[in-house]
Amino acid sequence: MDPDRTLVDEAAAGNLDAFDTLVRRYQTQLVNYALAIVRDTGEAEDVAQETFIRAYRSLGRFRGESSFKTWLYTIATNTARTALERRGRRERVGDQSLDDEAQTLSAGSVPSGLPDPETTLVTRDAIDRALATLPDTLRVAVVLRDVEGLDYKEIAKVTGSPIGTIESRIFRARQRLRVLLQSLVSVPVGNR
């Protein structure tokens, strides 16, 4: 049973308070998900806001075949992709070689010890920069699994891809991120 179902039904019937509760319940997750995908705070907030607005407009067509959360992530993924296409990917660092990126990430500032605000910022930035080097399909899959905590079935629904494809993307994404995050992932590189 979808824990959001009652609120969704009430919101679909025009109860704005019910939808406001849903927005507050998922706003942090959606903003952070969008940030991991588009890597720009303002743009991430726009994506999250647009996601909620699109969801509200489409509430009447939500049939509950997936959970409301999965449905929201589906809309957010499509909205983020549209934002990336609109931006023309000019800010992405995908053309930068993996080696260059790994040097950049490891040279600077790998946090250690207790997290303080600066360390938190640096850690998040290191992870987001590493994620940004991945192709969109790998990034979406690994973020949904490891950052957002969706299971494989949910990711398959969000992306419209078979579970086997999702497994492959997540596997490859982690292998590539290992190089980029080697300072955070303390496994020796280059044994293979």
């Binding site: 991430a44 407009r57 987001d128 905590g149 596997f171 982690r174 293979r192």
Partner: protein
């Protein structure tokens, strides 16, 4: 088991989704294969690092801005999206027209009826004597032209 076969199983092992026999085969492989052991550890550690990504706080007033930008929920008529439906029905309508043209097109022309036969059919049945019961005109020997003239000039309030 080869490393290629072990790859997908490594992910499922992390998720705890391996069948018992698969798990046993993978464990035997891992005992012998340092590369796959390292891959498994990389997969696990990267997942841990990503799951510890610090959360960004949502700016104050975000939910309020979302709610302020909502438009009224569209009614069920809007949800039907008539433009889309109309567009989708065009080929259906075209197909129906083709079927109608093929199935109900011009048929063979019927044998032309004599006007007297038509009037006989129209004015009523014959009585037991074989005389049309309804029309005086029918009792007389009249030509088709005469009958037509009588019909066209008849006083409708009076029987022929």
């Amino acid at each position: 088991m080869h490393c290629d076969e072990a790859g997908p199983l490594l992910l499922r092992r992390l998720e705890g989704g391996l069948e018992a026999d698969e798990g046993q085969r993978l464990e035997r492989h891992l005992e012998q294969c340092e590369t796959c052991r390292e891959t498994l550890e990389v997969q696990r550690r990267v997942a841990v690092v990503l799951s510890s990504r610090p959360v960004t706080e949502v700016p104050q007033g975000f939910a309020g801005r979302v709610m302020a930008n909502l438009e009224p929920v569209p009614g069920w008529l809007d949800a039907l999206n008539w433009r889309v439906w109309t567009f989708r029905l065009v080929p259906v309508a075209a197909a129906l027209l083709v079927v109608a043209a093929l199935g109900f097109g011009p048929t063979e022309a019927a044998e032309p009826m004599e006007f007297s036969d038509l009037v006989a059919e129209w004015v009523g049945e014959e009585d037991a004597a074989g005389v049309p019961a309804f029309s005086l005109l029918w009792q007389e020997e009249v030509t088709d032209d005469g009958l037509l003239e009588a019909v066209l000039t008849a006083d409708l309030d009076e029987p022929f």
